[in-house]
Amino acid sequence: MTTCIPAGRGTLHYRVTDYKGRSCSKGAWVSDVSIKSYLQKDLSWSKRVSKVLQIHRSEFSVPALCKNRKLFKVISSSKKDGTTKYFDFAVIGSGIAGLRYALEVAKYGTVAVITKAEPHECNTNYAQGGVSAVLHPSDSVESHMKDTIVAGAYLCDEESVRVVCTEGPDRVRELIAMGASFDHGEDGNLHLAREGGHSHNRIVHAADMTGKEIERALLKEAINNPNIFVFEHHFAIDLLTSQDGSDITCLGVDTLNTVTLEVVRFLSKATLLASGGAGHIYPKTTNPLVATGDGIAMAHRAQAVISNMEFVQFHPTALADEGLPIKPSKPRDNAFLISEAVRGDGGILYNLAMERFMPSYDERAELAPRDVVARSIDDQLKKRDEKYVFLDISHKPKNEILSHFPNIASMCLQYGLDITRNPIPVVPAAHYMCGGVHAGLQGETNVKGLYVAGEVACTGLHGANRLASNSLLEALVFARRAIQPSVDQMKNSSLDLNASNLWPRPTLPLSLGSNAKAKILSATQELRKELQTIMFYYVGIVRSTMRLETAEKKIGNLEAKWEEYLFRHGWKPTMVVPEICEMRNLFCCAKLVVSSALSRHESRGLHYTVDFPHLEESERLPTIIFPSSPLNSTWSSRQLQKQPMYQ
C-alpha cells in the first residue's frame, strides 16, 4: 500500500526545484583552479603516507586496543599563509552521529572531529527522552516500521525505515558495549518505555538524560582513541570540493579556530557531515545555539542535493520568556518545553484576553492531538498579533501542582511567576528538522567523499513527521552504514598533499577597522532577529501560499540588505567571522525551508497550508532541491573559495 520513493534511485519521478523556484539540472561551473594537474602528480597522498608508515605496517592489523600508541602519523603543515591538516577522515560535528562514525573509522585511519564549540555542546546532549529500538521479544521490526511510516504520514522511504528498524537493536547493544549505561528492569533486561506513536514498549533510556549519557560514553571513547583528534572551537566554513567532469568530490573543509582566530584547512579523503539541526532559523527553539544549520548550508553550497526542508517539527507549548514577570537577563538559548502532561492533568489554554480558545478548534479542547493544539495556538497568535498564550493549571490544588510539575514550578518562580496562582505563558518552539542533506542508504550524497548522518541528513526515515525517539536511532544506524563506503573512498583516494593550494583561503577581517567590525556585528545581530521573526510569522506551523511568498520576498530583501551593508563597510568576500558565517548559513537554510514549503501543494505531516489543507496522493513525494547555477546567486549561497574574482 505504501508507495515510497527511494532516495537516490532515479526511476521514479521527483518534484525538483532550485531554491529560487526554478527547475534546473545539477550545477556546472568553471572551476577557477585547475584540478587536472594535481591528479597527475607522481607522488600521491597515499603513496607518500605509506612510505612514512612502512615501519609501522605490521601494527596495522592489531586490533586498536593499544590506547596509548598512535597507529597513524598525522601530517600537518604550517606555512605563512596558514595551517593545513591532513587526515584520512574528517567528521564535522561531535554529536551521536559524528562520534559513532569516528570511533569506527578510527580503525582504518586518522580522524579529525571538528566541532564548533565544546564537543558535548550538540543537540544529542539535550535529548533526554530515549532511543527507540525493537528489543523485546513481543515487539517486531514490522511494528516499528509501521509506527514510523504512520507517523511520517506515508512519506517515508520504506527501505530506509526497514534498515533503521532492523539494524537499530544491534546499534543500541553496541552503545551499551561502548559504555553507555541505560536503565534496567527487575529481570535485568533493559527497561523499555513506551512513547507516543509507538505500539510497543521500545524506548531505551538513561534516567532522564539519555542523550547526555550517550554523549558522555562516546566522547570518553573518542578522547581515549589514539587515532581520533578532536578540534573543538573550530567553526566549519565551507566544504572543499573539486569537479571532474560531472563528478564533484569533497576533499575536506575549511575551518576557523574561534579561540586563536586562525583559519585551519582540513584535507580529508572522506568527510562525514554530522552537524545537526537548524533550530535557530526560528526565534524560539529547543536547540542549543550551535544549531544554525551550518552543515545543510555548506552542503547546499557544495552542490549537494537537499530534501524535505519544509518538515520542521514544532512543540506547541514552550515557556515564553516574554510573558514572565521578571525577564531573564539574557535570552534563553534553548526553549523549555512544557509537557503535554500539564494539559493532560487539566491545564487550560487561554489567549491574552483570557478566552479559552481550544473548544472552538476541536471538541477535545486541550486534549486534542498535539499538532491540532499547535495549529490552534499558532492561529490565535496570528489572528490576535500576540507573542504568546497562557496555559493555566492554577485551578488545581497547590500541592498537586508542586508534586507533579516541580521543574516548571521552580523555573517559573525564578522569574517571578507562581504557577499555582497564575497562568504560564507559552509559545510554540522549533525542535527538529526532518529534512536535510539527501542521503542514500549508506549515508552517501551526490558529492563523492561526502557522507551525512544524524539530523543534518534526510534519509527518508522520518518522512513528513518524526516518530518520537527515532532520531538518535537514525544517527546511530546511518553513522555506522557510512563506514564502509567511507573506508573504500579513503583507500581509493589519491588526494595529494599539495591539494591545499587548490582553493584560496578564507581570510580574517584584519583590514576592517574595529568600528566597522562592531557595526557589522551589531547589524548582523539585528538582522538575525528579523530573519527569525519572518520565519516565525510567515513560515510557522500554519502556512499559506501568500505568507510563504511574502517570506520569500522579505528574506531575499533582507539578505540583499545585509550583504550590501557588509560590503559597504569594507567586508571582503573571503572574510570569515563566526557570526557572519552563521548568518549566511541561516539565510541559506531559511530559503530552503521556504522554497520547499512553497512547492508542496498539500498538507502532510508537519507541513500544513491553508491553501492546500488536505493530503494529496499525487503530492506524496519528497521535495528535492538541486543546487542552482551560481551565476545569479548571493554571496551567502556561494562557497567562500568560489567567489568571483571581480565583484
Binding site: Y126, A127, Q128, G129, G130, G179, S181, D183, H184, G185, E186, H191, A193, R194, E195, G196, G197, I203, H205, A207, D208, M209, K212, E213, R216, A217, K220, H315, F336, L337, I338, S339, E340, A341, V342, R343, G344, R370, N399, L402, S403, H404, F405, P406, N407, I408, A409, S410, M411, L413, Q414, H431, A468, S469
Partner: protein
C-alpha cells in the same frame, strides 16, 4: 533552588564518569536513586516514602557522597530486607521516581518535556 542543586549534583556526577561506573552496576542505580531521592524530598511537600538520609545536608565532596551512598545502601538493606529498589508501576530498577515519563505521549520529567 532544588532544580539547580539537583542539576549541579547531576552534572558533577556526569562529569565524573568514574563515579557512575565504579564497580558493578549495583552502584549506578543506587546513585541515581539517591539523586532522585534528594530532589523529591526537598521539592515535594508531601512525600510518602520515609527516608532519614535525605534530610541530611548535601555532601560537600564526591568522596563524602560516595560514603553516603554506601551508607544508604546498607540502611536500605537493613530497613527493607531483601527488597530491591523497584518501581512497581514501571518495573524499573533504580530508574527515576515518580509518574511514568511517557504517560501523556511525550517524554516528561517534572513537567518539562524533552522529546515527543
Amino acid at each position: 533552588m532544588t532544580s539547580t542543586s539537583f542539576s549541579r549534583l547531576l552534572s558533577t556526577t556526569a562529569s565524573n564518569p568514574t563515579l557512575l561506573r565504579t564497580g558493578s552496576q549495583h552502584l549506578t542505580p543506587s546513585l541515581s536513586n539517591s539523586l532522585t531521592r534528594l530532589l523529591f524530598s526537598t521539592s515535594a511537600t508531601q512525600h510518602h516514602k520515609e527516608n532519614p538520609v535525605s534530610e541530611q545536608s548535601q555532601p560537600q565532596s564526591l568522596h563524602n557522597e560516595n560514603q553516603q551512598i554506601q551508607k544508604e545502601e546498607q540502611q536500605e538493606e537493613e530497613d527493607d530486607g531483601d527488597e530491591i529498589d523497584l518501581n512497581k508501576e514501571t518495573g524499573e530498577v533504580g530508574g527515576p521516581k515518580g509518574p511514568e515519563p511517557t504517560r501523556y505521549g511525550d517524554w516528561e520529567r517534572n513537567g518539562r518535556c524533552s522529546d515527543f
